[in-house]
């Protein structure tokens, strides 16, 4: 019995200490951001591997999510003779929810896991301690540019996702389902508000980008320096990011659209 209680206590203390370490780590990384100003090359390199290399999966999923939304929405809306509202349905679902959330989930799988594995492997092969030995702060040199790049890349990816999703839905609904071209856009334009819908989606993706890159770099930096530890850290990154994104999405939606 006491063993069980002790286990529970140890788990709780563990998770609290991880949370504390994560926050301290984040503060140190944020403090390292100004030192990136004279060396933008580091951030550009990371923007390439985080943002540009994620483009393919974002583009393909965006188009397909939009097309599926159009098909599914049409089947329901046509029962009420409201297929003209298909554009509204697709645009609002993409801009408010699916764009930011699906992008964040894909980001966790594509870029977050890569970040964790990269930093974890650097730690395992003692490159990080090597840097410290040469009086190079690994947090400034390795972590800060990745954090900033993830933070910048996510909203751009989410916006591209939503835009291509709407285009995919447009092609499906106008070309194959026979929805009126003008009604599709005009209904969408009258229902979608730039500040309310588009900008709130961008704010969501900023928050998700921040959380996703924080978790990814922290898990990598905090990984046990063994091959098994790195693989566990990579898994944790994907799981924790997905949970955090879905939980935060609910909170943000309640605040923004509640």
């Amino acid at each position: 019995m006491t063993g069980l209680l002790a286990l529970l206590g140890r788990k709780t203390l563990d998770s609290f200490s991880r949370l504390g370490r994560g926050t301290l780590f984040l503060l140190r990384a944020m403090a390292g951001l100004p030192s990136l100003l004279p060396r933008p090359g580091l951030v550009i390199q990371q923007l390439y591997s985080i943002g540009v290399l994620s483009l393919l999966i974002i583009v393909v999923s965006g188009i397909f999510v939009g097309m599926v939304l159009a098909l599914q929405g049409y089947n329901t809306l046509v029962n009420f003779g409201a297929e003209q509202s298909l554009g509204v349905l697709v645009a609002l679902s993409l801009l408010r929810e699916l764009g930011p959330v699906v992008t964040a989930l894909l980001f966790a799988g594509r870029a977050g896991s890569a970040l964790t594995a990269e930093i974890g492997l650097m730690k395992t092969t003692e490159q990080l301690s090597g840097m410290e030995m040469m009086a190079v702060d690994p947090i400034k040199r390795v972590v800060a540019p990745r954090l900033l790049a993830g933070f910048l890349a996510m909203p751009l990816l989410a916006v591209i996702f939503s835009f291509l999703g709407i285009m995919g839905a447009y092609v499906v609904s106008v070309a194959t389902l026979g929805v009126d071209d003008g009604a599709f856009w005009s209904q969408m334009q009258s229902a979608v508000d730039f500040r309310e819908d588009v900008m709130n989606g961008v704010i969501k993706s900023l928050v998700f980008g921040f959380v996703a890159s924080w978790i990814a770099v922290f898990e990598g930096y905090d990984a046990e320096p063994t091959s098994e530890g790195v693989s566990r850290a990579t898994t944790r990154t994907v799981v924790h990011t997905s949970l955090a994104v879905l939980g935060l999405d609910f909170v943000l939606t309640a605040v923004m659209f509640g």
Binding site: Q45, L95, L156, V159, F163, L164, I166, M188, S190
Partner: protein, 155 residues
């Protein structure tokens, strides 16, 4: 060095694509408020019932949009709905005795205000009130009236 340059070009393309998508969303998908802050003059209307009218609903004349609903409030003295609409300033020759009604676009679509032009030579100005108004037709009331009249026919 050449590799670094290619990476920079790709990142530049990525950022440009992101902003282009945002621009596309602003122009094509939403009605961006920057271009939509209807420059114009405010006119007041009083309705018995505004039904499902919302702020930003269109105000039309002969089917052409001339402005938007700015706000909807309750006049606490008369218990009527006080609707403020903004008419674009280029439509500055709307007669003073214009009448306004709330219609629904389609059977279940959104509601809008339609203006029917009057005939005087005096034109509406900022702060004027359109006196001739007809509120929204509430479907339940119509059905109720229809049912009572059916009942009377039977007697």
């Amino acid at each position: 060095m050449a590799k670094q340059r290619i990476i920079e070009i790709w990142v530049g393309l990525f950022v440009a694509a992101g902003f282009a998508a945002l621009f596309g969303l602003a122009m094509q998908v939403s009605n961006i408020p920057v271009f939509q802050t209807t420059e114009g003059y405010d006119v007041y209307l009083r309705f018995e019932n505004v039904g499902g009218l919302r702020p930003r609903a269109p105000v039309t004349m002969s089917g052409v949009r001339v402005g938007r609903v700015k706000s909807i409030e309750l006049d606490e003295n008369t218990y009527q709905a006080l609707v403020t609409i903004t008419i674009e300033s280029r439509f500055d020759r709307i007669p003073e005795d214009t009448s306004a009604s709330i219609f629904t676009s389609g059977l279940l679509g959104e509601q809008y205000i339609a203006l029917d032009p009057g005939g005087t030579d005096w034109f509406l100005e900022a702060g004027d009130e359109i006196a001739l108004t007809q509120g929204a037709l509430v479907l339940e009331r119509l059905i109720g009236r229809f049912l009572t009249s059916m009942g009377q026919d039977d007697n």
